[in-house]
Symmetry: C2
Subunit: 165 residues, 2 copies
Amino acid sequence: MEQTTTQQQVITSQELFKHWMGHRQLTRRVIEAFPEKDFFEFSIGGMRTPAALISELLAIAGPGVKQIVTGGTEKLQEDLSFATKAKALELWDKADADITRYWPEISNERFHERIVTFGQYEGSIWSSIFYFIDNEIHHRAQMYVYLRALGVEPPAFWNRDFGDK
Amino acid sequence: MEQTTTQQQVITSQELFKHWMGHRQLTRRVIEAFPEKDFFEFSIGGMRTPAALISELLAIAGPGVKQIVTGGTEKLQEDLSFATKAKALELWDKADADITRYWPEISNERFHERIVTFGQYEGSIWSSIFYFIDNEIHHRAQMYVYLRALGVEPPAFWNRDFGDK
């Protein structure tokens, strides 16, 4: 008899998915908040532009989850693959679709499996996914500072509803 | 018979604890990286100083976990309770000790319990704790931009070892 119930787990796979997707919706709103020109040119202290940071996040999320499911070992491809904010948002939505498609194929039994993402980064599946999420929060928060420096009010950090919590 | 094994869970309570503590050690290194004066005075775009951001994180982490265990309903106390970086670090370590003390008292069965933290914020125990961690990553990343703007190299984001992952 299967005894693993929601009540015996810290967080279920479906809850972690919704948690991440809530974060991804917020990151999408942060992309939208930038003036077009600043999205590709603004930076502080020699850091990367918003476009370059988003390129990194696009290189990680969709391809990372796909590799976890398919066992691929492709290296990170962080090259900027968009020349407009609209195209970046389109790629963002495509990544959402990829995550949504592959996520259900990660069974509970696999989250503690050891993997090497992008042929390079070793960890468990759970720690890899947490890294993807934490890294998104990290770079998005840097974009919050960019927006403030530009005089633009960023979207509220706490507003990430994507289903019940 | 108890059938909930590590292999059937996304992440165990102990893993989530270590994950957070790894983040907290990184945040500690970010505090250390600031010049004393800038820690209390620097800001970008009208945002809070590093000291004010750390005050918020201190108000949340230790007291939040304590409330989850003891059922307290005290409101958030974000007033700056330190006048030196050394004192902020001392309070940071004290919060680590509080989290370490109370964490084992949160049983697996409780993570989906509905709570109201600080008499105000409704959620599950897991979503409340994830909020504490995500909020720390968010504000720490803002301090990364401050450090870059000050010409100070921040500690590496990926370096958060605190036990095995």
